[in-house]
Symmetry: C2
């Protein structure tokens, strides 16, 4: 598919894209780009065979690259677009893997005036609570969803190329509007992460005073897994998507306040209905997972 795939950022996601692309034979060569302070990580990525070579000079990294994947933290994307601008090549396909799309699209608009027709905003709905290239795996995206949020002016051939790339990696691709993506992901991903951070923080402080983690079992272990996520990545995501996240937090607090009220006033039927509704909703979620 590609002669040279260039990853801008070679962490968990960038590294996994590289490994998956290599495994599926989607590119002849893979190069990584990072800042000077990322050199040790890039070297490690090369040692691991995730990438063939690395550069801290962007022009050198981009030379002959026919596909460029921006796999940096969301907060770095604006600066990356600025760096890319002088080298922007109409023959190259550019894409990203960021967890928010509005901020990425707005960053592109700010730098280029309009989102370039050969930039295809994308987001693989996959991840792990581990970070870094050591955790990268070729299977991270297999049987996972991938959302592309094309703009009106996105070049259909570039869109098709990126779609086929991800399908070859094993993902199921959906197209969605930019804002809709951020609304949906705020609910299914961003809010749950904040809820987990809040719970583990609360229990963490209690545990410091008196052992409680010792008595926390499987339910807590699963529930809290996403609280092991990378703080930098999540700070970026929250800032980028705060317009969607803040109202959701408020809606969640209202839901929790209802449960507290039912409990306080012994409204057992309402509590039972609430728990039953949730259980049935989760079953609905599981059923569609198998589709």
């Amino acid at each position: 598919m590609f002669a040279r795939l260039c990853l801008i950022g070679v962490g968990l996601i960038g590294g996994s894209v590289a490994k998956a692309a290599r495994q599926q034979g989607l590119c002849r060569e893979i190069v990584g780009y990072g800042r000077a302070q990322d050199a040790a990580n890039l070297q490690r990525a090369q040692q691991l065979g995730v990438i063939d070579s690395y550069f801290t000079d962007l022009g050198a990294a981009l030379s002959a690259a026919d596909c460029v994947v921006i796999a940096s933290p969301v907060g770095a994307v604006s600066g990356i677009f600025k760096q890319l601008q002088p080298y922007w090549n109409p023959q190259t396909v550019y894409t990203d893997v960021c967890s928010t799309k509005t901020s990425v699209v707005q960053a592109a608009q700010a730098v280029f005036g309009a989102v370039p027709v050969n930039f295809v905003p994308a987001h693989p709905i996959a991840g792990a609570e581990c970070s870094g290239v050591e955790a990268a795996t070729a299977d991270l995206f297999r049987q996972r969803r991938l959302i592309i949020t094309p703009l009106d002016n996105t070049d259909p051939r570039c869109l098709d190329t990126i779609q086929r790339f991800w399908e070859a990696i094993g993902s199921s691709v959906s197209l969605m509007g930019v804002e809709h993506h951020d609304t949906v992901l705020a609910a299914t991903s961003h809010l749950p992460h904040l809820l987990a951070f809040a719970l583990v923080g609360l229990l963490g402080h209690k545990d410091e005073q008196r052992e409680i983690f010792k008595y926390a079992a499987g339910g807590f272990k699963d529930f809290s897994r996403i609280a092991s996520s990378d703080p930098t990545m999540w700070l970026d995501i929250c800032q980028a998507n705060k317009q969607e996240i803040i109202p959701l937090i408020q809606q969640y607090q209202a839901e929790l306040a209802k449960i507290e009220h039912y409990l306080h006033t012994d409204q057992t039927e309402q509590l039972f209905a609430t728990f039953t509704y949730a259980r049935n909703a989760r079953q609905r979620y599981l059923d569609q997972l198998e589709d």
Copy 2:
């Protein structure tokens, strides 16, 4: 260890106790007791070999039983103590597996005047979101914690018997005060379940209006697992432990409000510190799991 083990209630937990006891050769015979409306379930338990026989007559079930395990929903315990009272045998060891301990102890005190010296309140910190005897497994309690909350007057020989029973099943036994148990479990188990019910309910309603479950990935799947828990069991637990749960919900709301405030006012350092603290706290939790 026992000639005849009698399970009062043969669902997921009671059934798993039976299977584990059988597997470890801890009893010669296992009988189950339930109400007339539970007969079909008891019959199924017998068909599955979980129990050898069943009774809907309590006197018959208890006959020659040297160990009785109350494995009913928490809300039924008071009625069960009343039914047991006429048959209470000082030579028999009685115990339970309820998720709350104060309500069980208070129920025993209300029926007997004081908690009988041969009743050993216990709670296996284990479970699954599945319900019913079909989900019962001999391994449910292996390498899990078991909390016994003895009273001052609990017969040390009975305590020792129940402790050895659970250790033979593979659990690691801790002793704890009754109220302390409920305080700790409110934080590590009861609150997380309510948080999961609230989130899945909120997202369930959104999904009815517009597909979002389709885009919810591994993080949500794990986080929400406990929302598949049995509504009856959790209604009982919440009612039994509301004195501990309600303040915790309020503390959690405060934690969430802080995060919302930091996000709203762009206090990025505080947000980063919050996420980092949570991540480190989870690591502390994981580290002690391996001990």
